[in-house]
Amino acid sequence: MNLTLKIWRQAGPNDKGGLHTYQVADISADMSFLEMLDVLNEQLNEKGEEPVAFDSDCREGICGMCSLMINGEAHGPEVTTTCQLHMRSFKDGDTITIEPWRAEPFPVVKDLIVDRSAFDRIIQSGGFISANTGSAPEANSVPAPRDKAMRAFNVATCIGCGACVAACPNGSASLFVGAKITHLGELPQGQPERWSRVVDMVGQHDHEGFGGCTNIGECAAACPKEIPLDVISQLNKDLRTALKNGH
């Protein structure tokens, strides 16, 4: 298939940037979206032009490194990551607009690459448990109720990609923070730091400059791991309990 690409090009953090139009030809429907961009970059290299910078790592949907706002949708039209999005989701002759995640706490590094270390700092502020290191404990020594373990496991699939922030009209990272709060808060190992964790992580979230949640729901629709909106409710509930108890 032949495609017209409108891609955000920005030489560096302080460059103004803008959309540039490119043509790619003979794209196979079996290629992933990133492979299609690889084809474009080979063309650009041959012409001696600067290739388009974009993020990727595992290319199997587990690391959360790839991003891209594709035709106004985070990770494109399917419920998956950009690396797992295939060109069969597009038609011959399509025009595809590709932009970086847009959020003040995710500054553009170059072209389509944004700096997501704000998420790392949120995790550092409380997204951990303290445990003694040494040999692994006996697996069944800390029983976890099945429903709680399942919920924790489901939300632990968050890969920290930032699509929720990119899709949210408020630029809020509440789905990401809610996923971490729920993941650790449902398990026995997460209890000792449960209340300070929620206060610290929300504090860091706000400090980074993410917006406030108004429960619009674009985040959950954009999440490649289908983290449900109820983690934000859990976040609010834990925060209320923590503040009530003086944390």
């Binding site: 106004g72 408020n170 909106l229």
Partner: protein, 213 residues
């Protein structure tokens, strides 16, 4: 935001119920308005109850608008560069119109209070109705464009309540599962339809001449 919003939901439900007294006739409607003023007497002075409600509503309004302004500012700061293309996949129209819808309601409330409480503007014959709010209501909604203004305001109110009801429950942490979330969404529909629909009945029935002086 959530707490003040829930207070408003309680208020509009009560207010709507009061308005429906218009169907029971002039005497019943005016009796209700009078009752609101003497409620709690002699423990409270005349209009005491009404003033407690008014002060409560004003405080709630200040809290509500202040939180809205803070959230809007944070959102604007969090996304200084807009997308060239952006799709909405998971959100209701009501959730995306809360800010402008809220401003619309604020303008409506100012007009509404001038209309019925502070100045008592009677658009048909200038008669303020004196102690007869029923006459003022009928005269107002006999004017077709007043009915249109009120009906449009009720559309805005219905939208605001549709998302607001769900959102307040979510913010209070009461929607921790898929089932409770679906219930909160349903509650949004019920509150929106009951309140906006209930408020709309009186203006409509006045306009078509079923409620009359």
């Amino acid at each position: 935001m959530a707490v003040s919003g829930l207070l408003f939901i309680g208020f509009v439900l009560g207010h709507m119920y009061g308005n429906l007294k218009a169907f029971a006739g002039e005497e019943s409607f005016n009796e209700y308005a009078h009752h609101l003023r003497v409620l709690g007497e002699p423990m409270l002075p005349y209009s005491g109850f009404l003033w407690i409600m008014r002060v409560g509503l004003i405080l709630a309004l200040i809290a509500h608008v202040a939180s809205a302004v803070i959230l809007a500012r944070r959102a604007a700061k969090a996304r200084p560069v807009k997308y060239a293309v952006k799709k909405n996949n998971g959100s209701s129209i009501s959730s995306r119109t809360m800010r402008w819808g809220g401003v619309t309601l604020l303008v409506f409330i100012v007009w509404h209070l001038l209309n019925f409480t502070i100045v008592k503007i009677n658009p048909s014959n200038g008669d303020t109705g004196g102690d007869n709010p029923y006459h003022l209501v009928v005269d107002t909604f006999d004017t077709w464009w007043m009915t249109v203004i009120y009906l449009l305001a009720m559309v805005a109110l219905g939208l605001h309540l549709h998302h607001g009801t769900f959102s307040s429950l979510q913010t209070l942490g009461l929607t921790g599962s898929a089932v409770s979330r679906a219930r909160a969404r349903a509650a949004g529909w019920v509150v929106a339809i009951v309140v906006a629909g209930g408020f709309s009945l009186v203006p409509l029935f006045v306009l078509v001449g079923i409620i009359e002086k």
